[in-house]
């Protein structure tokens, strides 16, 4: 009997000691942090998460809403969501869904995670050379810079977070940083990225779908332009234009090659959507698709009826711009959808012309999904044109008009080139560039930021109201709201303010009653 008790006791003691180990279980379908960051492929997978984050509906939708929806280019189509309607109504509140910045911060967190852990992989995986690490760091830095650039343009001031979120022991109540600090960080990151960014990944899809040196330079040019460093911007654009593998697509093939097929010769950085991974739902539902051609967004009616508001057939007084611009018919239809016309860009493969000359749009079917172009050659050309126009001097203005002509002429085949004489002064050239950017880049998430740059130069919304005016249809309330600088930025989401008590609301949206509630 005693023997038995001893055996039992021994087992119990061993049992208790091994209890703690027995209770250590790791998940079977996921890898825990302690076991991750061992191989090159693991590091690459987290880098890819940054790209994957950008094609999520959350980011994609915001690129359109923040970049285009508030501009004169867009009105409500068929059954837009309540949040979209409120934005169009100049009634943006801290509860609006588009005040939610989470999807971009997810991308930032993936990039931060990569930048934090990837250097340690070099020691563990022989194949992961420091060179590989640096080119991938260049990608992560650029993706993070791009995300912050979107945020800073939409919100003006946001929390600047450069460390990964790992555990519940961290402080997540990060206050806002000033625009200056954020822009400096973006520029610094991009300058580092520039040094090691790849020029080619070996396949056309990856060359357009991942960050290349051209993409870094294009983004840097855009940031400089926003930051009013025009000479730097012009220089960055020049570096992109120096790459002769980038070629403009012929005017009549733009619709098919650039926006339908995608990854064209003029594309620089293009988000790669894939029907098996992620539809471009924002474009599908916003711009339309084969079996639902009426999208939630539309091209304004006044562009069709009020000639002077429209960048197309722009013919006040002595000017005669864009009289027979193929971009007009390829950008939007003349059939009404909600309070505007159907949008064509991205959603049709071509306009098929019948013998009698009637053009019918051939829509994208539900088994295809469009890529989203972040930067393409004509954008860079026109950024340089804008920078030069701001720099002034006759030579610069002349080159600016010349640059405008490169994109203009491919779409106005029957017209003559625009002559500098007609746009002799700085203001006219600036206006011309703005109009050409509108014609060329309409519905590409650029217009609102173009207008914001205009506003930021004079620190007054009055120039913006000139363009937005027709859309506000003389509504005094709306005009008043749009006349405040801070109102042109988005509010911080109410729930975010409640949780992150270090944040303060964008001044225009401070409602004492809301916060005291």
């Amino acid at each position: 009997m005693k023997k038995l008790n001893i055996i039992l006791l021994v087992f119990l003691v061993i049992g208790l000691e091994s209890c703690n180990n027995w209770l250590d279980l790791k998940p079977e379908s996921e890898v825990v942090l302690e076991d991750y960051w061992q191989t090159e492929s693991q590091a690459t997978a987290v880098l890819a998460a940054g790209y994957r984050g950008l094609i999520s509906d959350g980011c994609m939708e915001r690129m359109i809403v923040w970049g285009e929806l508030r501009s004169d280019n867009m009105v409500a189509g068929k059954d837009p969501s309540d949040a979209v309607l409120k934005v169009l109504d100049v009634n943006i509140t801290p509860t609006n869904a588009f005040a939610d910045w989470s999807s971009f911060y997810s991308v930032i967190n993936y990039c931060n995670t990569f930048l934090y852990y990837a250097p340690s992989v070099v020691n563990k995986d022989q194949n992961f050379t420091p060179t590989k690490l640096h080119t991938m760091e260049a990608e992560a830095l650029t993706l993070r810079a791009l995300s912050y650039f979107y945020l800073v343009r939409a919100f003006h001031e946001v929390p600047l977070i450069l460390n990964p979120s790992i555990s519940d022991a961290q402080n997540y109540k990060v206050p806002k940083s000033s625009e200056r600090v954020i822009l400096d960080q973006i520029i610094a990151d991009l300058l580092i990225a520039k040094q090691s960014a790849k020029t080619s990944y070996g396949s056309e899809k990856l060359n357009k779908g991942r960050i290349t040196l051209n993409a870094v330079n294009s983004l840097l040019a855009d940031v400089y332009l926003w930051d009013q460093q025009y000479a730097n911007c012009a220089e960055m654009c020049n570096q992109v234009l120096a790459d002769k593998t980038l070629k403009l697509v012929q005017g009549e093939k733009v619709t098919t090659n650039v926006f339908y097929t995608g990854n064209s010769t003029e594309s620089i950085f293009e988000l790669q959507f894939d029907i098996n991974i992620q539809y471009n739902n924002s474009v599908r539902s916003g711009y339309g698709i084969y079996d639902q051609q009426a999208g939630a967004l539309a091209y304004p009616l006044y562009f069709g009826s009020k000639g002077t508001f429209s960048p197309f057939k722009y013919q006040p007084a002595t000017l005669n711009e864009s009289a027979d611009d193929v971009r007009e018919s390829n950008t939007a239809s003349t059939f009404e959808n909600g309070s505007g016309y159907y949008i064509f860009k991205y959603v049709i493969s071509q306009l098929a012309e019948s013998l009698s000359g009637i053009k019918t749009p051939i829509y994208r079917t539900s088994s295809t999904t469009p890529n989203w172009i972040v930067y393409r050659l004509s954008d860079v050309i026109l950024m340089r044109a804008e920078a030069l126009a701001q720099l002034g001097s006759n030579d610069n203005l002349k080159e600016s008009v010349k640059l405008v002509n490169t994109t203009y002429l491919r779409s106005n085949i029957t017209s003559d080139s625009l002559s500098f004489e007609k746009y002799g002064d700085k203001v006219s050239v600036q206006d011309l560039v703005l109009r050409e950017r509108q014609r060329e880049l309409m519905f590409e998430g650029k217009r609102w930021f173009d207008l914001m740059r205009l506003v930021r130069r004079t620190n007054s919304p009055s120039l913006l109201l000139k363009y937005i005016g027709p859309k506000l249809t003389g509504d005094v309330m709306k005009i008043q709201k749009m006349s405040v600088m801070n109102a042109l930025y988005m509010p911080i989401l109410q729930s975010e303010l409640q949780i992150n008590t270090s944040l303060t609301q964008n001044p225009f949206y401070v409602d004492t009653d809301l916060t005291s509630n």
């Binding site: 996921e30 690459t44 997978a45 890819a48 967190n109 519940d168 997540y172 079996d291």
Partner: protein
Amino acid sequence: MKSNFAITLLFILLLLPFTAKSERPGVELIIQGTVSSKTDGAIIGASVTEIDGNNRIVNGNITDVNGHYVLKIKNSENRISFTYIGYVKQIRKIGNSKSINILLEENTQNIKEIVVTAGKRHSEGGYNIPKREIATAMQTIDMKEMEGLQVSSVDEALQGRIAGLDIVSNSGDAGSGTSMRIRGASSINGSSQPLIVLNGVPYEMQVTQNFDYANSNQEQFANLLSINPDDIQEISVLKDAAASAVWGSKGANGVIMITTKKGRTGPTRIEYSYRYTGTIQPQGKKMLNGDDYTMLMKQELFNPAQSSLASNVPEYTYDKSFPDYENYNNNTDWVKEVTQIGNISDHYLTLSGGGDRATYRVSGGYLSQNGTIIGQTNSRLSTRAYLDYMVSDRLKFTAELSYSYENFNRSYTFDFGDNNSPNEDLSILGIAYKKMPNSSVYNQDASGNNTSAYFRTPTTSTLNSDQLYLVNPVALAMGAKNNVKNYRTLPTFRAQYDFTDPNKTLLRYNMYVSFDINNDKTTLFLPGAITNYGWTDERYNRAENGDRESVTIQTDNNIAWQPSFENKDHSFLLYGSLQTTEGNSSFQNIINYGLESSNADDASTAGYLKEEKTERGHWRSMGILGRAHYSYLGRYIFDGTFRRDGSTKFGNGNKWGNFPGVSLKWIATDEPFMAGSKKWLSMLAFRPGWGIAGNQPEFDYLQYSRYGNNGSYAGMPVSIPVSLQLKDLKWETTSSVNYGCDLGFFDDKILMDMNVYFKKTTDMLFKDVVLPNSSGFGKLTYQNAGSMNNNGWEINLYANKIVSSKDFSIDFRFNIANSVNKIVQLDDAILNTYNTNFNYNNGSYLTRIQEGNSFGSIYGFKYKGVYQYDKYIAGSQEDAPVGRNANGKVITDEKGVPLPMYYNYSKKSGGNPYLFRGGDAKYEDVNHDGNIDNLDIVYLGNSNPLFNGGFGPTFRYKNLSCTMTFNYRYGNKIVNTARMLNENMYSMNNQSTVVNWRWRKDGDVTSVPRALYNYGYNWLGSDRFVEDGSFLRFKYLTFNYSIPRQLLKKFSVDKLNLYLTFENIFVLTKYTGVDPEVGYGSFGISEDKGQTPRAKNLTLGLTIGL
């Protein structure tokens, strides 16, 4: 090695009894002889066995045709036993004899009446103490009390019978479960459901992180209790922490212990029972017919725009030139169309019996049910076997096996329509209440005759999306598929070994291994033909297949030691146990839409892939338990428990939790000085107790930062960190103090127990705590943040034969309980997360959790009726929308113009100001500023009942008994969302007949505002829709008649019982909804979303025993 350690240990322990005891070699002998009887001579086939000191069979043989036997003896110290059916067993010592002849005697002598005075004992495995020495708050129900009830699950039967157990059925749908709470909710986020323990083995329910607990709860829980009531012996409910500390981390919400019936020694008994139940749905809300509805809609559309253009909808105008005229000129009662008389038939067959060594009980049953909603069916096949085998007096094995297969056809629920309204009810019944009554069920031809096709609103219709996309509920019930098949197998093996003679000193080892294999298969299909969605919509021809399987293995090794003292005043029991749990689960789901045909409706057919998901889980936990029970003179009792629980759900520092419990009992009536009052006071005992129980998160791997797949980008596989590492997460602990008192009067004719308790939950686990989005993560899966109190009392009374004569007697049961819940402290971040601003939308209540208030509080406006007039004219038209000061005087501007009443004048939350008009809802302007806004929101009540309980008498007359059961809740508030949506006159949904009293013109005096389509603020979250949920329900009335044995003997039938039960006979309540028994939703608020009400049942049953 690690993972299998517990199991290895267990088998080694299992083998110990055999290896440890070495046989003493004796001289090998052969014994022979004959077995015969006086009357019959030689007995053929009598069993002759050699048994050892513990009555373990060592060797055996049977007699041949001459009654002769030969037996090789292993040990001459052993004895020989001679048995034959119908004869008295004889046992002889072997000694040195070589031949033993036996004369068996027939077993015919009459046994004198024996009076057994031993008290009932309470046993949990080796822990076995007299029932009267239980020192904790525990209540036990013998299932005999419930004989004759039609209960498809056990939880329903408990309703109203246990003090402090608040059970609310989730709905009357076939197979839906209940919400149970023992002594209030101790956790805000975690499950408040108590732990179920079946024959000492906890029923584990494991969920993975992405599992939608809130929505799957109903079926899961019903599933959990799929034990046939016929198999249940008794149910005990452990309420205080001193008792539930035994279950450590799992017992924080209380424990329900179920003991099933076992076999009994004796000849094979066969029992068959059959029950038939007819079910009808109580009359619900009266809805408008087609004529009233179209009239309402035209007004509703006209009012906001004041234009007949808006109200000119062809579906409402009865215009014969409208192509669908015939389909829109009906008076369809959709509720009637989707309901039916339900029925349940339940067959159950039990075989039980056993001999000296082994007893068994095998049972099996089949239940089939048709729900009260068309298309709902449920069938269940269940079997259970219980086998006890005594190897010797010291060693016993038990095998228990249960298997059940359930096949549910449930209603298909989906988000049809526009989802404009909050808390949309998506059930078939919910749709029936909304569907426009002037449309027809079947497509009608030009002359108004029904065709065979279901009518579907044409996609070209100008109706708003509420109606346009709202499916025909009859077509949905008959055409869509939502099938769940559940297979569950629960084998348990037990062994028990006594190291010593149990009649002297008890040293008993007990173990079990229990498996729970649970598989679910779900198949869903929504045919495109019944919806209005295009073929690229993900709801068109949508098929879904899901498979979930889990295996849980639980083991328990325990030792009980009870020394026998010379001095019989002392009694002492020590008990130690080591328990382990290990489980695996996997889940896969596939959703395909746009299938080519609705005939091939499996998700494996070609279509667009919507989702493909797999998940795996693996978890372990371990508990070490020590218990001590000491009693002195049988009246001073001490009980102590200490449990240490380890779980894989926590990180290194917090893996283990300690859960102690102490309880004392003093049986005062056993004191000599109380002898005088013993005549009337037969029992008086006091039971103070204290204990700590714990709660752990539902999910695993929280202590890790995990990386998971997230598709790919441009051919590059993507991994993302999917979770934040929870370094600081620890156990939620609930400590409670319980003061109990047991009373018995008049020789225990009236028994009563009372409990007062104070429960405090600290480190409360909060799920999905919101993080700043700038972290890149939306939520922290769990956080410990705050504490909460639950205090209350319970009284339970049982009067046994208070009236009794020779043939007639009456019993009476009564219980009442109260629980008050208070949030003591909460983390600011949590408060901010939960306490969002008022959104200024119709239909929403401000949800708040506040320190010092109880959980489940409702906040909203005060509803004061309807403005009688549009324009204020002093004296004649007083009741108009103008601002008034605190004295009720109208506020005017400097020109004497009355200040109009506004809603949200300061445009908060992005809303626009609204000027109230005549016929609009009138809300109390609490701060008298002529503006209704968030400052006018007040506390409207709480969903926790002041008290709840049940009572009922049992009458017996000869062989006939009649039992009544009532249950009640008092003082809880319910948000009647169903009524809100049925009376808001805001959408195109059908409304209840109450709206016929709506305000139509100046001067109308009514409490129902005017109809406004998508306009105005007539249905803000106010006390108009917050109702008192108090009720008294006559739940059961059962007649039970057992036919006298004398009559049955002729047919060699042992027992024949007949019974008749009426269930849910009536409900007394002021609540205007269909059923005042509403479960708890988010924030602990009871919200009536119009779920299927509890049915009225009639059950006829019989039990035959052979």
